[in-house]
Symmetry: C2
Subunit: 351 residues, 2 copies
Amino acid sequence: MATSTTRTKRGKGRDKAAPARPTQKDIALAAGVSQAAVSLVLNKAETPSVPPATRTRILEVAEGLGYRPNHPARMLRSARTMTFACVIPDITNPFYPGLVRGLQAVAAPAGYDVLIFDTDGRPEREARAIDWLLQGRADGVVATFFHLRAPQLAVLARKGIPLVRLESQHKPDGPLAIDSVYIDNAEAAAEMTRLLIARGHRRIAMIQAEFGPSQRRAQGYGAVMREAGLTPDFITDSAYSEESGARAMKRLLERKGERPTAVFGASDVLALGAMEAARSAGLSIPGDIAIAGFDDIPVAKLLGLTTVRQPEFDLGALAAETLVRRLQPGGLEPPGKSHELKFEIMKRSSV
Amino acid sequence: MATSTTRTKRGKGRDKAAPARPTQKDIALAAGVSQAAVSLVLNKAETPSVPPATRTRILEVAEGLGYRPNHPARMLRSARTMTFACVIPDITNPFYPGLVRGLQAVAAPAGYDVLIFDTDGRPEREARAIDWLLQGRADGVVATFFHLRAPQLAVLARKGIPLVRLESQHKPDGPLAIDSVYIDNAEAAAEMTRLLIARGHRRIAMIQAEFGPSQRRAQGYGAVMREAGLTPDFITDSAYSEESGARAMKRLLERKGERPTAVFGASDVLALGAMEAARSAGLSIPGDIAIAGFDDIPVAKLLGLTTVRQPEFDLGALAAETLVRRLQPGGLEPPGKSHELKFEIMKRSSV
DNA sequence: CTGAAAGCGCTTACAG
DNA sequence: CTGAAAGCGCTTACAG
């Protein structure tokens, strides 16, 4: 009966058993000062307005009570979450964890946490990410969108939430432009295609995904093929996954007529799936069929996969640096900029 | 000059260019109702106290202004963050992304976001994670700690933050116990060791890491070795990484005397590093040396690595379900429970 | 220099 | 049934 008669404000939490976390008010009460004085002492390295003895007492009481600042309250009051969102298609794609680490490496020292939002590369999930960002969950965003375009992303800028896109090509700088970091995907794919041709391949197929960066990569590949008098041969599956890569490779192998001598996966996971399917079909790599990828995920080296190295850690770190800069006072003024990083062709045994 | 004379409360944000996000107050003003009525209509499916016409008007105005609830404010008021924290050693270890997806799969439909906190398996980072959790950043936690023990984690329970540990063995249930999900690591390693012995191996080395689950795995391996009259042969490196695995394998190969015919990596990434080092040394797998791992990360299949499968997605999902249940009213009462999931030995070509 | 007050945006108990 | 008020924990501008 008496359990529900608790009149105190502290009894309202979801759990009555746990002792309430001490607040600044509790410290103030115990130290005999105002709550504001507590806030001041706890947040400023120097507090000329508070006598040293009082300052010491406040700090001791805070320590004694095990005080920890209430993050939500801080967020509300200061209108800053000290959180970056990282919106990516799929954290299980080995390309992204490295990117996340790069982000964290810069974000953490600057005081920011990193929240991961997976979109699965689906338009409705990307839209949900925007909605979620508009709730004020993060101070800034690093994102890869497969479907949303600049006009749909403009709402973030309008609400003062800086965004850095992970892009697959240069975007023009300008007052309305969105910050981006990228490697030249078309040129990288072109260079890989040139390598395959130089190795004597003529029938080169590219496995691509329906959306995302494979489009730019396909352009580079297509251009070089045509330049060399060869016919581009695209085979498209839905996602950036080993399953998609294996499925595409199977379809290639089931075709009538001459089979390609080389397959260029628009991403490493696609190439990995292709390798698996090729081996299952009894083909040797690169003897019967050469395979190349794109990304240089950690296992690529172990598997001997020839691929395009994207500096994922550096991309993440650069994106985070850009956000940190934008969030400094006045940081929103300068126009959006596109930052290019260099790719590298990693020649291994699969080609 | 006039720029700093903005007297409105809204001019205080870090950026003056962006239009302020509309609040319930703005909607109330535009719709001619009280702010409380707006909150009610926006949050409840049915509002008997608000006339239908008013309800419709409020919803239209909210839509028109592009209203999104302010998440920090909600968190403060309701004392719920609707966020789960996932504290893990290293997101770039391919075991964890699958776990995170399992977590998200259950968390998202229940309305929870997932925040990743990497500890790098270092004690000071684990301590920082606890501190960070005590700031009220998440309603619940799924965590792998290499260093912190139950007494150091008890503070979370005291503050009403439910924790589910990813464990490597059964923990006794009980009122003070911590919820955990696990597979029987010792038994799994024992079974793998039996397999290696059954395949004729006598000199079997285990590559282990200094901290974390490899301890339990080492126990299972050691017990079976001794049972079979063989001498356990441990080689320890610092972390769960390919570099550590490769370094350990190199040290094994540089030893004088007979070299082991099989190497059991306490995790797949250690085994992968070992494979790489063995190949670099000109050894064939499994011809010259057999290699086994633990985890069954996605690439294990492709590399033909014989390993112990841990159902990482299911572990994450089960952990999230446990948290969701704990966070329901009264969910904190029942004693902590240990949930076991089954492992599976994946026999492939590396052994 | 010092301390009390306002207010961030929201939810919900409570008075009319 | 209806609406205004209190208050979550904090930061910071402002009055004495």
